[in-house]
């Protein structure tokens, strides 16, 4: 074929071809056309097009990679209810070389973007891109995040956009059909991949101080040098900072400060948009344009203060006082000071206190439940929540304060005492810039080495920052409507410090996330024969990493001699966004943490804020029952999924998984009926739930619980538990002893699989779990099989709870008062602990009582912390085992990276 430029348009004047210039009798021509298939050039092209397009449209093999929540719906599309196989598109290929269409299913983060561009480049032509869901299309709910790319189409040519968050499987099927229609309309004469003048290769963007698109490198450098970002930020209202809590005696004086704004947030924003100063309306708020809030005058009215306690179930005031006395007697006076129901420890005494608490105290605090940090006005506070597995429920909180300026905070690492602090300390370092001395591998964990900021510090403003709280001005209807891109001087979601100089050293082949995490070569000695080991980077795009998780393996033959988890590819800034959202607005974001268990996440978050609200959010009886029903249904759905995909990881091609998904679908139906959404339920409210159960819901639930679930659980048990291959693959593989499991802060089925009887529903009961009779299931060996079995048995226990709950649920209100959109949360600190299907899900919330948003919002995610144990479990096993062990941990990347 000649080059397309010489071809005529299909219906235009035909090109003169010498042999066809003979005039033909029109009648004869018609006859010929009727009986001979091809009569002219256009028809020939038409015929070729028909076959060419038909072949491609009927055989669209997707690239098997999923990013976030949408990927779950993508998998469901392959299940029996939707069956994408009908279109011939069920052949998900793990290798981009064999794929035809890339379904960008989920939030595209900056960390992931270079990988996606590379995958796209590796796909052979003709290739298509489906942008699935709001995030892939434009950043979606996470658009304002500092690590989120506002739309995959900033980099790749997208063929079909599917709206939805997440789009249902039907929507994906519709998107696929839309793509087929698009292919139908193509003609071989002007396809871009046959044209020399069209550049189809995407330059891989670079992870420098921010994600840098090499196509716009020069203009980015220019704008950065001008300091446009800094100039813009100078005009914006900064987020307020509050002082750190002080010991009880000093409290009243300190606390006389901030006032609750009487007018609604929306009114204030309206006023601001119209150019008037909300302060002028007499609510005493600090004026928006004036000096930074730090020095702002505060109103005289005292905000409501929440009950002071670290968590709902804890050691108690007397116990804490006794403990403080004991520590002071043991380690010298002044070691422990009680500050807001927690022990304030000087940084240099931290290790001594930790060792004392773990080894010598009456209650052995052997379990580090959670570790987080708060950026206060005058310091950065790192807080540790400790619990004891021998005396569950005696939670205490430690506070350690370090210097506030960026990069100056230093404190000793507690990894040697509680190894489970490993990832959490790295997270604090990454997000706050606090250095942990003695940490074995203090590198960034969610962002990449070289990223210019520590994003959770209060003085870090995201590239799309508009104001300290939402609703943002640009979204208000009567104001002008802006997109984030228009507000940022770069026109996209990047922010680079003005002083950055390394423009010429940006290298698209560099690997800033993985380079510091190459496992050492001599961690495990296995080979008798002299052999060389090599590093295998598994993920972030890999069929069995359950999303965009990555492991750097050092393998000797097939034996894993070193392993380093690399994460952050799904880091979508949940916490930073959560500190801008009003309390109520944050509910839908919690849905998207562990997107398989949105109801459980809702509950955890609701519990934390309810602890602050105290009696204002007393949950009515009916709502308590509904909460239990929803949480237990979620547990069954999540465990079903987990067991199915564990089998998938072991090599059973999707069959068990799809059967498990069938049950999950039934549960999702119930969710959709009650809340309006299959996956992102957003169903809980402070003090209750959003809607009452619709008529007939309970009957249907009852039918499923009583007649179906047990049968299907037995079926799974019958077919799977005794299978020889399953036993061989799972027994004795990935063993985690009870001591290790506790030390590494694992939780949920992982901890219980190792034989530790620790279930938050029993250890620190919340809701009405103390009324139900159920067993805490534990394993004995701590291997993959035990974790599998624990999940299987837990489903049975959940059914047991459900039977009770569905039977006993009373009539009554579902909220303590009227439905409210103005949530007033008193000032205070709360940490909620719930037993989510993956493990202990904790929400750490600090409210300043005035702004209506969380001052600090941290999620203790079970998937993330359970991963701490991965390296221990995998060393010495084979690559195939690593996949199975990861499957038995049951991680969800939305929660790991948040």
């Amino acid at each position: 074929m000649s080059t397309p430029a010489t071809h005529p348009p299909r219906n235009g004047p035909s090109v003169i071809r010498p042999e066809w210039t003979v005039t033909i009798d029109p009648v004869l021509q018609k006859e010929l056309e009727r009986h001979v298939l091809v009569t002219d050039w256009n028809k020939l092209i038409g015929l070729v097009d028909t076959i060419y397009n038909w072949g491609r449209r009927s055989s669209l093999w997707p690239l098997g990679f999923g990013l976030a929540c949408c990927a779950i719906e993508m998998i469901c599309t392959a299940s029996s209810r939707f069956d994408i196989a009908r279109f011939g598109a069920e052949v998900f290929r793990g290798s981009p070389r064999q794929a035809d269409v890339m379904i960008v299913s989920g939030t595209v983060t900056k960390t992931m973007m270079p990988m996606i561009a590379r995958l796209y480049d590796q796909m052979p032509e003709p290739k298509y891109v489906i942008s699935m869901g709001a995030c892939a299309t434009g950043g979606g709910p996470f658009k304002e995040g500092y690590n989120v790319v506002s739309g995959i189409d900033k980099y790749l040519p997208v063929d079909v956009y599917i709206p939805g968050c997440p789009p249902t499987p039907q929507a994906l099927l519709h998107g696929l059909m839309a793509l087929q229609k698009k292919i139908d309309g193509e003609t071989i004469t002007d396809l871009p991949w046959y044209r020399r003048d069209v550049e189809r290769e995407i330059p891989v963007p670079v992870l420098g101080p921010d994600l840098i698109d090499l196509r716009t490198l020069e203009i980015t450098a220019e704008r950065t040098a001008l300091g446009l970002i800094e100039a813009r930020e100078a005009t914006l209202e900064k987020p307020p900072r509050i002082p750190a809590p002080q010991p009880a005696a000093a409290e009243p004086a300190e606390d006389a400060a901030p006032a609750a704004p009487p007018s609604s947030k929306l009114d204030k924003i309206r006023a601001r948009v119209q150019g008037t100063n909300p302060a002028a309306q007499g609510d005493g708020e600090t004026s928006a344009a004036s000096a930074p809030p730090k020095s702002a005058p505060r109103a005289a009215r005292k905000p409501k203060v929440a009950p002071v306690m670290p968590s709902l179930r804890w050691l108690g005031d007397e116990g804490l006082a006794a403990l403080a006395d004991r520590i002071n007697a043991e380690l010298g006076p002044g070691t422990a000071t009680i500050v807001q129901a927690a022990l304030l420890i000087p940084a240099d005494k931290l290790l001594e206190v930790a060792r004392f608490l773990r080894d010598s105290n009456v209650i052995r605090y052997d379990y580090l439940a959670s570790l987080q940090s708060v950026h206060y006005e005058d310091c950065i506070e790192v807080t540790y929540h400790l619990d004891s597995t021998s005396r569950p429920g005696s939670l205490i909180e430690l506070r350690v304060r370090v210097a506030e300026p960026e990069g100056q905070g230093k404190l000793p690492s507690v990894v040697s005492i509680w190894p489970g602090a490993d990832f959490q300390e790295r997270e604090v370092y990454d997000m706050m810039g606090v250095r942990f001395l003695g940490h074995p591998n203090l590198t960034r964990i969610l962002m990449w080495e070289g990223f210019a900021y520590h994003p959770l510090r209060k003085d870090y403003l995201e590239p799309y920052y508009e104001g300290p709280t939402k609703v943002l001005e640009s979204r208000v209807e009567d104001g002008q409507h802006f997109r984030g891109e228009e507000l940022n001087p770069h026109g996209t979601n990047i922010k680079i410090p003005q002083s950055y100089q390394g423009w010429n050293s940006l290298d698209p082949d560099a690997d800033p996330k993985g380079v510091h995490l190459i496992p050492p070569s001599a961690a495990v000695q296995v080979a008798e024969i002299d052999s060389e080991s090599f590093v295998l980077s598994m993920g972030p795009q890999h069929p069995s990493t359950h999303g965009v998780f990555r492991m750097n393996l050092r393998v000797d033959g097939e034996t894993v001699v070193g392993l380093k988890p690399v994460m952050g590819y799904m880091h979508r800034n949940h916490e930073k966004i959560g500190e801008r959202n009003t309390f109520l607005m944050n509910f839908p974001f919690t849905d998207r943490l562990d997107y398989l268990t949105s109801m459980a996440n809702n509950w955890g978050y609701a519990l934390a804020v309810e602890q602050l609200m105290g009696d204002d959010a007393k949950v009515p009886e009916r709502a308590e029952y509904i909460r239990v029903i929803m949480a237990e249904l979620t547990r069954i759905a999540s465990h079903m999924w987990s067991i199915g995909f564990l089998l998938n990881d072991l090599g059973a091609f999707f069959t068990p998984a799809l059967y498990a998904i069938e049950e999950r679908e039934l549960i999702l139906d119930l969710f959709e009926w009650a809340s309006g959404s299959r996956m992102m339920c957003n169903y809980f409210r402070f003090g209750g739930v959003a809607f009452d159960l619709p008529d007939g819901w309970l009957d249907r639930c009852q039918a499923i619980v009583y007649d179906r679930l047990e049968r299907r659980i037995d079926e799974l048990d019958r077919y799977l538990s005794g299978n020889e291959i399953l036993l061989e693959r799972c027994r004795g593989v990935g063993v985690l002893t009870a001591e290790q499991a506790i030390a590494l802060s694992t939780s949920g089925p992982v901890l219980r699989g190792s034989g530790v009887k620790y279930d938050i529903r029993r250890a620190a009961p919340y809701g009405i779990y103390d009324r139900f009779d159920f067993d805490v299931i534990t394993g004995t060996r701590g291997d993959i099989y035990d974790r599998y079995l624990v999940r299987l048995q837990e489903m049975r226990q959940s059914v047991k709870i459900l039977k009770h709950a569905v039977h006993d649920i009373p009539e009554g209100p579902i909220l303590p008062g009227k439905k409210s959109y103005q949530i007033k949360v008193p000032a205070g600190e709360a940490y909620s602990r719930t037993e989510a299907p993956k493990g202990e899900l904790g929400f750490y919330v600090i409210s300043d009582g005035t702004t209506g948003t969380a001052y600090r919002y941290h999620v203790r995610s079970p998937s993330f912390i359970n991963l701490t144990a991965l390296e221990t479990m995998c060393l010495g096993h084979t690559v195939a085992d690593v996949v199975g062990i990861l499957g038995s941990l049951d991680i969800v990347l939305g929660e790991v990276d948040r």
Binding site: Y52, G55, R97, P126, F653
Partner: protein, 368 residues
């Protein structure tokens, strides 16, 4: 060999190769349908549906609609797509070997058919246009047929090993490593497991083995252990679950063919299914009586009718075996690499040796 024989052989080669390649395309569809059946789904069922509205195709609609409903056009669509897909040869591969590997894979899988009888051979009485009896085998009269099949089967693994080695990709490399180890391990039980039936039938000729089974009983009855060992080894030899370690999607992404695209990938695909067909033929011939239907057929029956009955019987057994192999794939999880080795060296080889010794003793005793 006369010219007529030569022409006949060429014709048979054309037919067998043509049919087997076509059958393979549809075997993939069968596999997808079996997957759908195992997973409670429908499976491919609509490629071509939209074509029925086109003016040129409207007349064909009544004919095409039922075929489309069965998904019969999907393999064609896949073929067309693979054909028009860009053929990427990454810059970092070892180019000659990279190009050679898929060719090897598919060639070796194809030429193994040369000695496999797909019907009665000898005095069949099925006379074709007066040219003599039709032999339902491309190269009839080779008395070491089994050795040939085994030799070619071992060569086929070079396709996999070379693909893994030349791709310069770590996953491919691991796949190739697994493949070579797996092959060496499973050639042994595979070879040992058929020695028993060879001793009993006293021949390496596949036809003679069928004849013996026709006269006496099926091989599976005299060699049940041999059959089991051979079946398991055959799964391993064809890289099918639970032994699909060289490919193992969940661990190695695509295994040895990770870096292959378009038709080259298609060739590996075809090769894999051709192996399945060959393995099923061998199992049928060695242990399930070949074309024999007990109490119905025997060697003496001649003529087109009986020839076709025998061909059909053989193909039916092969087809059922293929379905069994596919069914297993969608049912079982995968062994781990070292367990696979354990199974071969510590369990199957000793059992096969035991079987051989026992068979030899009995044969010696029976014959005096």
């Amino acid at each position: 060999m006369t010219t007529i024989d030569l022409l006949g052989t060429f014709l048979k080669i054309l037919i067998v190769v043509g049919i087997s390649q076509g059958v393979v395309a549809y075997l993939i569809l069968v596999e997808r349908k079996i997957a759908a059946w195992a997973q409670d789904r429908i499976g491919p069922n609509r490629a071509g549906l939209e074509l029925l509205d086109r003016p040129g195709f409207r007349r064909l609609a009544p004919l095409l609609r039922p075929l489309i409903g069965l998904g019969l056009l999907h393999p064609i669509a896949d073929g067309v797509k693979m054909f028009v897909k860009e053929d990427v040869v990454p810059g970092y591969v070892n180019r000659p070997l990279y190009l050679l590997a898929p060719v090897l894979a598919i060639t070796m899988a194809t030429i193994a058919f040369a000695v496999v009888p797909f019907g009665p051979v000898g005095a069949t009485g099925a006379n074709f246009l007066g040219f003599g009896d039709v032999q339902f085998q491309i190269a009839p009269g080779i008395d070491i047929g089994i050795l040939y099949v085994f030799a070619i089967g071992s060569l086929a693994v070079y396709g996999v090993i070379l693909a893994g080695y030349s791709s310069n990709n770590k996953y491919s490399f691991l796949g190739a490593m697994r493949s070579s180890a797996q092959l060496i391990s499973y050639e042994l039980p595979l070879g040992l497991s058929i020695l028993g039936i060879i001793l009993i039938c006293r021949s390496l000729d596949l036809n003679a083995i069928i004849h013996w089974q026709d006269r006496h009983v099926w091989g599976i009855l005299v060699q049940p252990l041999g059959f089991l060992l051979f079946l398991i080894s055959a799964f391993a030899e064809t890289n099918r679950l639970p032994f699909d370690l060289p490919e193992s999607e969940q661990e190695l992404v695509g295994g040895f063919h990770t870096e292959y695209s378009a038709l080259k990938f298609g060739m590996f695909f075809l090769g894999e299914y051709l192996h399945v067909i060959t393995a099923s033929f061998l199992i049928t011939i060695l242990f399930l009586g070949g074309w024999d239907i007990p109490f119905l057929t025997d060697q003496a029956q001649t003529g087109w009718f009986w020839a076709l009955v025998k061909v059909f019987a053989l193909l039916l057994k092969v087809g059922l075996l293929i379905i069994l192999i596919m069914w297993v794939r969608w049912t079982l999880p995968r062994f781990r690499y070292d367990q696979l080795m354990d199974l071969a060296w510590k369990r199957m080889i000793p059992l096969a040796l035991l079987n051989l010794v026992a068979t030899a003793t009995i044969v010696q005793l029976v014959r005096g």
